[in-house]
Amino acid sequence: MTAADIETTLVGRPDLERPSSPRAGVARRRAGSTALHVGLVVAGIAMVFPFAWMLITSFKTLPQLLQDPRSFWPAPWTIDNYVEAWNAVPFGQAYLNSIYICVLAVAGTLLTASMAGYAFARIRFRGSRVIFIVFLATQMIPKQVTLIPFYLLMAQFGWVDSHLSLIVPAMLVNPFAVFLMRQFVLSLPKELEEAALVDGAGRWRTFWSIILPNLKPGLGALSIIVALDVWNSFLFPLVLLNSPDLFTVPLLLSSFRGQFGSINYGLVMAASALATIPMLIAFVIGQRRILNSMAASGLGGR
């Protein structure tokens, strides 16, 4: 039942290899397995504790925080912080903003990146190699390098303090997504589309009704990656948006800290919880797909 047991049932060899002192071997492996479990439990606690502390603190009253900052549990428990945080700033609006920006950015990226990925993988045209290399190379340019000219460009378009500055560029350019979709298309069998092309279906029909349906797993993975990226982005919204009504969730949270300072940190933790708990619940529900997608993207679509 423990990890050590699984190992021996799976492989079942080590003891034969060391006939000199089988008992010492078993004991050492037991000790190793205990150390492994203890280490993982400690690491697990280190991961979860900050979230737990956020929740515990969020239920404390201001008098308790001021008079007895060292106490662990709330006494008394209160949900006033949540009520106050929700009413103080437009949390509901920020969630709506973040959700619709995310949905549009993801939908746009899926379409444009899979189109480009398909073309780079399967259509022969002049310059395709060079253009693809440019796409790969621009991944080396940190986004922050273009922050200032990008802002000036958005000002030219009249898109400063508008969601367009976050949505349209996200829909139209994502070199990593193009690369990933190209990899996914390359992994499809060529015969799949050849039959359709020979039958006289045009490129667009072939793409739309043959390629796209077969790309579903890849599209799912890509939408998770893009959604996380857009949802959590901070620097660009910080620079581009001014009106609190337009703020995304991270931006609203950051402005909340600015407004309410560090005195009533029960209130600040309640706001943090309002910003994080829905995301964490969504993650736990979809954890299997999310983890697989992120692993796939980290392996470069291999």
């Binding site: 492989v11 259509i123 922050l147 460009l153 139209l172």
Partner: protein, 325 residues
């Protein structure tokens, strides 16, 4: 030129000859289809190419141009040559930002990746690891702003972490965010904590891709746990670790959110000022677009140089299976 080089003389001859010894029969129809198909290629890449040109390449070139100008966005733009760069390179704040950024990268990348390897190897031995995966990955799906705010409470002088350290080691509770020598360390801790999960699942996926027969063969040859790790798992995992280290290095050179929120406004005495914070401060705090662009170019060069160094070092440490041959 054409006369001198031997290769070039061959080209005109080739171009005189018909295109290629191609298929018989419907050659013309085939090529008409090809021509139309080529156009479809451009249509399909069109949206991304337009986006690339407009939102990446244009701002990128503008950044290079602005780096040589003096402009606040309102008055007339004037050319100043290399002045922004010379001024920036003498600016104590920029030098400090570069130093801090490099220090953050040099601390977080090796420790973060090292921990992730150890945890991934440990997790691979477990039968049920879903709970652990959720715990390690939770910070990755949490916005960096929220992460920074949570840790701001963790790091309070009268907070739970400082109190515990004070009790265990019998010292005064450390003032993580107020003490210039600790603030940068606090940023590193948060950044390792929040990115650990991503590398753990990537390495875990890599470990699971190693064929069990390789492990078993080594075990039959008498390899112990350490030997298996050092001689089998690490070499087979090394290309993935290399890829992750490039991504991790690049992203830690871009540290901003954490220092902006955790150590409000770059910490005590600019102790946690990073390059991106510097760019933000120059550009949107003081509207000095020229110097801010010069700092951006410096960030780009730094990124390229460090990535090149990593690619240079990979030959020594990274093991590639000979499936390419």
């Amino acid at each position: 030129m054409t006369v001198i080089t031997g290769d070039a003389t061959a080209t005109p001859v080739a171009s005189v000859a018909p295109p290629a010894p191609s298929a018989p029969g419907g050659l013309r129809r085939e090529s008409a289809w090809r021509r139309r198909d080529r156009r479809w290629g451009y249509v399909f890449i069109g949206p991304q190419v337009i986006g690339m040109a407009l939102f990446v390449l244009l701002p990128f070139v503008a950044s290079l141009v602005l780096a040589f100008a003096s402009w606040d966005g309102l008055t007339e733009l004037t050319w100043v040559g290399f002045e922004n760069f010379t001024a920036q390179m003498q600016d104590e704040l920029l030098l400090r930002s570069i130093g801090n950024t490099l220090l953050i990268a040099l601390i977080t990348v090796p420790i973060g990746l090292g921990l992730a390897v150890v945890i991934a190897v440990a997790l691979e031995k477990l039968k049920t690891r879903t709970l652990y995966l959720i715990l390690f990955f939770a910070p990755v799906v949490t916005s960096t702003v929220a992460v920074a705010m949570i840790w701001q409470q963790m790091f309070r002088v009268d907070g739970v972490l400082s109190e515990t350290i004070a009790k265990v080691f019998g010292i005064a509770p450390p003032d993580w965010l107020g003490d210039p020598s600790l603030a940068l360390l606090a940023v590193c801790i948060v950044s390792i904590w929040s990115s650990l999960g991503l590398n753990v699942i990537i390495f875990l996926a890599g470990l699971q891709n190693i064929s069990p027969s390789v492990i078993e063969a080594a075990r039959i040859d008498g390899a112990g746990a350490w030997r298996l790790f050092r001689s089998i798992r690490m070499p087979l995992l090394s290309p993935i670790i290399f890829f992750s280290s490039i991504v991790a290095f690049i992203s830690s050179l871009q540290t901003f959110d954490t220092v902006f929120v955790l150590t409000a406004d770059a910490g005590p005495d600019n102790a946690t000022r990073t390059i991106v914070y510097h760019i933000y401060d120059l550009g949107f705090g003081r509207f000095e677009f020229g110097p801010a662009s010069a700092a951006s170019v410096i960030l780009l060069v730094l990124t390229l140089v460090i990535t090149a160094i990593q690619f240079g070092a990979q030959k020594k440490f990274v093991h590639y299976e000979d499936d390419a041959a």
